[in-house]
């Protein structure tokens, strides 16, 4: 019995806290149009400053979403490459003795398959190996006559990467003319490049974020200045500071959410269109293809879109907090 009472108390407290939050008021108004009171809202719904604020927020939110989406995407495809590259090594078998060559390739393959941490061993046939050289040698019969080295693609267990240097040493002591390439150099170079790209992206993100904060704060401030009269009158008729702040928070939060959603929606459209653009671009030569490599398929996955949601929440909260600060500042001069 006591427990139930306590629970009720907690519930009551919770309901009160939630009902008091401007977010709830705004979400409620967005989800279902609340039965409108006869009277106009206390805070002026549409002023020139309010409209300017809406435009500023929408644009800044759009830019912030674009930047964060792009950084997220590059970061994501960089991670994908690393995973791919790290899980693949190549073994090269040089034809020392032409007669025994096929047998040697099979033996090396079997040896590799026995090593711990190796998931799959797939030796390339001589045609496939030749295919790889085509870009350099052209389409000629010369290939069949040449002693082309054979490649064995080895896939290793991503979850428990084996020590490749041990495997390499074992290979080299057992077989002659066999080398193992774990793309280490290429990997570390790539890592540097992508890391600096992601870092650069973050720097841009920070700059855009700072610009967003600054412009939203200043636009909210100027919108608040035009509301000075309302704040004063409310104060004089006996409204508590919290009541006034709450009215303004509700109003500015709803501006922030609506404008932020417009911006995020714009960015979403951009990212949905991007794969189409990329496909169009990728038919346009080497540079485009490289770019494509960089951003992957240019498809933003769903956590990326959740990021947009977070941007909207931050932007709207900023707007709300600035308005609250503005209210208290104006009230302070009267108390």
């Amino acid at each position: 019995m006591k427990d139930i009472l306590k629970l009720d108390k907690i519930k009551g407290y919770w309901a009160e806290t939630v009902a008091d939050s401007p977010w709830v008021a705004v979400i409620r108004a967005l989800v279902r149009r609340e039965a409108r009171a006869m009277s106009a809202p206390i805070v002026q719904p549409a002023s020139v400053a309010g409209r300017a604020l809406t435009v500023v927020i929408a644009i800044m939110c759009f830019l912030a979403c674009l930047t964060s989406g792009a950084v997220y995407m590059v970061n994501q495809s960089a991670n994908d490459w690393f995973a791919d590259i790290a899980s693949e090594v190549t073994v090269q078998v040089i034809p020392v003795d032409a007669a025994e060559f096929e047998k040697k390739v099979t033996l090396v393959s079997l040896f590799l398959a026995k090593q711990a941490g190796i998931v799959k061993v797939s030796p390339l046939s001589s045609e496939e190996s030749g295919e790889l050289l085509k870009p350099w040698l052209g389409d000629s019969n010369a290939l069949s006559a040449l002693p082309v080295p054979r490649l064995i693609a080895v896939e290793i267990d991503r979850s428990s990467l084996p020590d490749m240097s041990v495997v390499r040493r074992a290979l080299e002591s057992n077989f002659k003319g066999v080398t193992l390439d774990d793309h280490r150099r290429w990997q570390s170079e790539l890592r540097t490049v992508t890391r600096s790209m992601v870092l650069g992206g973050f720097a841009v993100l920070v700059l855009v974020g700072a610009a967003t904060v600054a412009s939203i704060v200043s636009a909210t401030k100027s919108a608040m200045a035009s509301n000075r009269e309302i704040i004063e009158v409310l104060h004089f008729v006996g409204a508590r500071e919290r009541f006034i702040a709450h009215e303004f928070e509700k109003h500015f939060l709803s501006i922030g959410v609506r404008a932020g959603l417009v911006g995020a929606l714009g960015a979403t459209l951009m990212f949905l269109l991007l794969p189409v653009v990329m496909r169009f671009l990728s038919s346009g030569g080497l540079a485009a293809a490289e770019f494509r490599q960089l951003v992957g398929t240019a498809v933003l996955d769903w956590p990326g879109y959740i990021l947009f949601g977070a941007v909207v929440v931050v932007v709207a909260s900023l707007c709300m907090l600035t308005s609250r600060y503005g209210v208290y500042r104006i009230l302070k001069s009267h108390d």
Binding site: A37, M38, S39, A40, I42, Q44, P45, E229, I230, E232, V233, L234, H235, F236, V237, G238, A239, R240, E241, R242, F243, H334, D335
Partner: protein, 218 residues
């Protein structure tokens, strides 16, 4: 109910606008506050509304020392005071009706509970057909009446009116004065700041006269 002890007021570093103001008003009193322009009538009313703090001295309102009240309590005291500003201060984006209803809305009452009272009061002050008009299109006298209606709608214990009849004809001034007297009869203390001697002569009430910062009650 209201007690001023040695109150002095200055704006910033300027000269003292009010000096050694001492008075005591009991519940249910009715006073005129008069004095030449710039004498400090509005300033005195702002002190009473707690929108200014005195530079020195003590102000007691409703038995409480205003100086050391936290802000929510000051807001609660303000709810017991109705004020008519010299410059009306109606909100331009609300209709006359909504402006008058504003204090009740702020007090958290439901619209259904006060809508009739607001309409009745507006009719009483002669704004029955201007209820849906916005302050922008009201005449000076109409704004003044709306401001008065807003001040009295919450049945305040103390009514402060700054030049409440400055913009209306003698007939309407008389009518508004009767509204104030009626309120006073119901228990509200009233202070009317005015330089309208004709108005003051209509009613035998004590006058607080401000001159060069000093207050004298006659």
């Amino acid at each position: 109910m209201i007690r001023f002890e040695n109150v002095g007021l200055r704006y910033g570093l300027g000269p003292e606008v009010l000096r050694d103001v001492d008075f005591h008003l009991v519940r249910g009193s009715f006073h005129f506050l008069t004095g030449p322009s710039g004498a400090g009538k509005t300033s005195l009313l702002r002190l009473l509304l707690m929108s200014l703090r005195p530079s020195r001295g003590l102000i007691h309102l409703f038995g409480q020392n205003c100086a050391d009240l936290p802000s929510p309590e000051r807001a609660d005291l303000r709810r017991r005071i109705g004020i008519v500003f010299q410059d009306f201060r109606l909100l331009d984006h609300l209709t006359t009706w909504e402006n008058v209803a504003l204090p009740l809305r702020v007090f958290g009452k439901s619209e259904a509970s006060y809508s009739e009272d607001v309409t009745d009061l507006l009719k009483w002050v002669g704004l029955g057909d201007r209820m849906t008009a916005y302050p922008e299109v009201l005449s000076g006298g109409e704004k003044q009446r709306a401001a008065i209606a807003r001040a009295v709608i919450g049945k305040p214990e103390l009514l402060l009116a700054d030049e409440p009849t400055g913009n209306v004809d003698p007939n309407m001034a008389n009518r508004l004065l009767r509204l104030f007297i009626e309120l006073n009869r119901l228990g509200t203390s009233v202070i009317i700041a005015t330089h309208d001697f004709q108005l003051m002569d209509q009613c035998d009430a004590p006058r607080m006269v401000l001159n060069e910062g000093h207050l004298e009650v006659r």
